[in-house]
C-alpha cells in the first residue's frame, strides 16, 4: 500500500523514534494482548513501587507546612508554594534553569544538526563510526567528564592560557562557575541525544525528494531549507525536548560547572532536602520544576504541531 519510505515513517510520533518500539507494536497486533500484558507486569510493579509511590509521597509532602512530617500535628496548606512564588531567589533559580536549558538546546542543535546531516549522507560504515564517536562520551562518567572540562575552562586552564598567549584577550574569561560553563557542559553532555534524534528523522526522508527539488530548479541550499529542514522537524523537536528535559533536571554538571554562582533548581532542591532538611519545601520545589518542564515541552511541541508544518508530524 505505502511504497514511499518517508511517509510510513513520518507517521510515527514526534517523540524519539527508534526501530525496536515499532517492531514491538507489530508483534503485539499479531498475538493476543493477554500474554503481552503479562510480560509488562514486572516493570509495571517496579515503576509503581519505585516511581509512582515516591512521587505521590513527595506531592503529599509538598502540602505540609510544618517541620514535623509525621502524624497528627501536620498542617496542610499551600504555604510552601506561596513562599516559593513570592521569594525572588527561587523564581530566579527557576528562570536560570529554564534559560540554561534553552541555551543548551540551541547549542546542541546548532552543533548537532551538521553532524546528523553528515551521518545521513554517508555510507553505512562511516555512519557507524560517527555514531560510535558521538555516543562514546556517554561511556565516561559525568563526574570525570566535568573534571576534564575543569582543566580546559579554569581561569588558568588550557583555553584561557591559549587565548591570553595569542593576545585575543587580556584577562581570563569566566568560563567556569558561570552560566556559560554550565551551558558548555550540558550541551556537550546531551549532544548525542540531539544528534541521534535528528539523524533518525533525516534517514526517513526519501532521497528522491532532494532530486525532485533540484530538477525543479532549487539550489542545494534552497533544497535544504525548503525540503530537508522542514521534514527533519520531528527529529529536531524530539531532540530538543530530550535535551531540554535532561538539562532542566541536571544536577551534577550545574553543581560542578556553575557552583554557587548558578543555583539551578535541582541544586536548590538538593540543598533544601539534604543540607537544610526542608523536606516539604524541597518537595514543592521539585513539583514546580516538574510542572515547568512539562508545560514548556507541551507548549513547544504544540506550537510546531499547529504551525504551517503540521503535515510533517502526521
Amino acid at each position: 500500500m505505502e511504497p514511499v519510505r518517508s511517509h510510513a515513517d513520518q507517521e510515527t510520533s514526534p517523540k524519539i523514534t527508534t526501530e525496536p518500539p515499532k517492531k514491538q507494536k507489530k508483534m503485539k497486533k499479531r498475538r493476543s494482548w493477554v500474554p503481552g500484558l503479562l510480560l509488562l507486569v514486572p516493570i509495571l510493579l517496579f515503576l509503581f513501587g519505585f516511581f509512582v509511590v515516591p512521587m505521590l509521597y513527595i506531592l503529599y509532602l509538598s502540602f505540609i507546612s510544618t517541620e514535623n512530617l509525621s502524624g497528627a500535628d501536620a498542617v496542610y496548606s499551600l504555604q510552601n508554594y506561596i513562599t516559593l512564588f513570592t521569594d525572588s531567589y527561587y523564581l530566579n533559580s527557576l528562570w536560570i534553569t529554564v534559560k540554561i536549558s534553552i541555551y543548551s538546546v540551541i547549542v546542541a542543535l546548532l552543533l548537532g544538526y551538521p553532524i546528523a546531516l553528515t551521518m545521513a549522507k554517508s555510507s553505512a560504515r562511516v555512519r557507524a563510526i560517527i555514531t560510535l564517536l558521538i555516543a562514546s562520551p556517554l561511556l565516561v562518567s559525568i563526574v570525570v567528564r566535568n573534571f576534564g572540562w575543569y582543566l580546559l575552562l579554569l581561569p588558568n586552564g588550557t583555553i584561557n592560557s591559549f587565548l591570553l598567549n595569542i593576545g585575543i584577550i587580556n584577562k581570563p574569561l569566566n568560563l567556569l562557575f558561570s552560566e556559560l560553563g554550565v551551558v558548555i557542559g550540558l550541551s556537550n553532555a546531551y549532544l548525542p541525544f540531539m544528534v541521534l534524534a535528528i539523524v533518525t528523522s533525516l534517514y526517513n526522508i526519501d532521497p528522491s525528494l532532494e532530486k525532485a527539488s533540484a530538477i525543479l530548479g532549487a539550489s542545494p541550499m534552497r533544497s535544504f531549507f525548503s525540503i530537508t529542514l522542514p521534514l527533519s522537524l520531528p527529529g529536531i523537536i524530539s531532540g530538543s525536548v530530550l535535551v531540554f528535559s535532561l538539562s532542566m533536571s541536571a544536577y551534577v554538571t550545574p553543581a560542578l560547572m556553575g557552583g554557587a554562582n548558578v543555583p539551578v533548581m535541582p541544586v536548590v532542591v538538593y540543598d533544601q532536602i539534604n543540607n537544610l532538611l526542608h523536606w516539604t519545601f524541597g518537595s514543592a520545589l521539585s513539583y514546580v520544576l516538574l510542572a515547568t518542564t512539562l508545560l514548556s515541552v507541551f507548549i513547544f511541541t504544540r506550537v510546531f504541531e499547529k504551525s504551517k508544518f503540521k503535515e510533517v508530524f502526521r
Binding site: 514511499v4 511517509h7 526519501d206 528522491s208 532530486k211 533540484a214 530548479g217 532549487a218 522542514p230 503535515e311
Partner: protein, 369 residues
C-alpha cells in the same frame, strides 16, 4: 543526415561505478517533440543514461547536449527540466498546490500567473479541486498525476520519466500510460521515458531505444523493433520467441536453407541479423520465430503456401482472445499463438505447423574463442 532538430544529444558517454562499466560509449539523439523510451533489463544503463541527461550523474567520458547547449557539467537545478520519479517524490509537507508552485516560485513567476498555470495543468491531469490536499490524502494514481503535473507546470525543455508507472497496479498503469501519451502529444514536450516493461515501451513511444549491458542494441520505431530486430538480444527481449538450432545447408539468392534436425527450414536472406552476416555452408546458426507467426492446422492441405512440418500438441492454454498451444517439433517445444483453434485438438494430437520464410530470423552462432 538527420533533418530533424535534436533536443538532446549524448556523444560517446561512458560511466563506471567501482570498476563496473555501466555505460559503454553511448551515442543518442532525441528529436524535438518525440516520446523516446529507454528500454532494457535492470542494470542495462537506461537509468544511468537518464541521470546523465538530468545531471544527477556526470559521464566519465563523453558529452551531453540539451537544445544544442553543452550541459555536461551543468548541475541539475540549472538545466530547466521536468522529471517524474518512480516513488512519486511529492513533498509530503506541501499541498498539491504548493508542490506545483515550488518550481514556479523558483522561476519568479508572478502570483496571478502562478495560479493560472497551476489551474491549467491540474485540469490537464484531471485533478482540479484537489489543490489543497496533502500527498498523504491522495491515492497512488493521483500522486503520480500530481508528480506529472509538477514536472509539466514549469514548462520544461524536456520531460524525463523514470519508471513512473512501476509502483501502480496493472489497471492504473494502463490508464496512466494512455494519459501520459495523450498529454505528451497535447503539449508536444520532448519526453524521455525509462522503463523495463516492453509493453509500456511499445505502446507509448515514437521511438524505442533497446539497451543491454551498457550499450544501445537498437533505436527504432516500436513496430520495427518488434518486426525487424537488429540483434538476437532485441528479438529475445521484446515479445515471445521460439528458437531452433541448425546448420546452413544451402545458400540461394533469396533464401537460405537450414537443416534443423530432420526438417529443412528456409529463411529469407533479408532476415539474417546480427553482426556477422556472412554465411557459409556448414555454419551453425540459430533461427527465431514469434509464436503468432506460426500457423497451425490439422491437415497438410489447408495452407499450401507455407512450409508445413508435423508436430504434436503438448500443452494448450486458453487466453481469452487466443490460444497458446505448445507443440513439439524437431525434438523441441515450440509455442504457438493462434485464433484458428480446432475443437478436436487435445494433448497428443498430431498437427502441422508452418511459417513463412519471411517471418524467421537467422543469426550466426558466435564461434567460441
Amino acid at each position: 543526415m538527420n533533418t530533424m532538430v535534436s533536443d538532446v544529444e549524448i556523444k560517446g558517454a561512458t560511466k563506471q561505478f567501482g570498476g563496473n562499466i555501466v555505460l559503454d560509449g553511448i551515442d543518442l539523439e532525441v528529436r524535438q517533440g518525440e516520446l523516446l523510451t529507454l528500454l532494457g533489463p535492470s542494470g542495462c544503463g537506461k537509468s544511468t543514461t537518464l541521470n546523465l541527461i538530468a545531471g544527477f550523474l556526470e559521464a566519465d567520458q563523453g558529452d551531453v547536449f540539451i537544445k544544442g547547449k553543452k550541459v555536461t557539467k551543468v548541475p541539475p537545478y540549472k538545466r530547466d527540466l521536468g522529471m517524474v520519479f518512480q516513488t512519486y517524490s511529492l513533498f509530503p509537507h506541501m499541498t498539491v498546490y504548493e508542490n506545483l508552485n515550488f518550481g514556479l516560485k523558483l522561476r519568479k513567476i508572478p502570483k496571478a500567473e502562478q495560479k493560472k498555470k497551476i489551474d491549467r495543468v491540474l485540469a490537464l491531469v484531471k485533478l482540479s479541486g484537489l489543490e489543497h490536499r496533502y500527498p498523504r490524502e491522495l491515492s497512488g494514481g493521483q500522486r503520480q498525476r500530481v508528480a506529472i503535473a509538477r514536472a509539466l507546470v514549469v514548462e520544461p525543455e524536456l520531460l524525463l520519466l523514470d519508471e513512473p508507472l512501476s509502483n501502480l497496479d496493472a489497471k492504473l498503469r494502463h490508464e496512466l500510460r494512455l494519459e501520459i501519451k495523450r498529454l505528451q502529444k497535447e503539449i508536444g514536450v520532448t519526453t524521455i521515458f525509462v522503463t523495463h516493461d516492453q509493453e509500456e515501451a511499445l505502446s507509448l513511444s515514437d521511438r524505442v531505444v533497446v539497451m543491454n549491458a551498457g550499450k544501445i542494441e537498437q533505436i527504432s520505431t516500436p513496430t520495427s523493433i518488434y518486426k525487424h530486430p537488429n540483434t538476437e538480444f532485441v528479438f529475445q527481449f521484446i515479445g515471445k520467441s521460439n528458437s531452433f538450432e541448425g546448420v546452413v545447408a544451402d545458400i540461394g539468392q533469396q533464401k537460405v536453407s537450414v537443416q534443423a534436425g530432420e526438417e529443412m527450414i528456409a529463411v529469407d536472406v533479408a532476415n539474417i541479423i546480427g553482426e556477422d552476416k556472412n554465411l557459409a555452408i556448414g555454419d551453425e546458426v540459430k533461427l527465431y520465430i514469434r509464436p503468432e507467426n506460426i500457423h497451425i492446422s490439422s491437415t497438410k492441405e489447408t495452407s499450401t503456401s507455407l512450409e508445413l512440418h508435423p508436430a504434436k500438441i503438448t500443452q494448450m492454454n486458453y487466453l481469452g482472445t487466443s490460444w497458446e498451444i505448445d507443440v513439439s517439433i524437431i525434438g523441441k517445444s515450440v509455442q504457438v499463438l493462434t485464433n484458428a483453434y480446432d475443437s478436436s485438438w487435445q494433448y497428443g494430437s498430431e498437427v502441422f505447423v508452418g511459417w513463412s520464410p519471411s517471418d524467421l530470423m537467422l543469426i550466426k552462432k558466435q564461434v567460441q574463442r
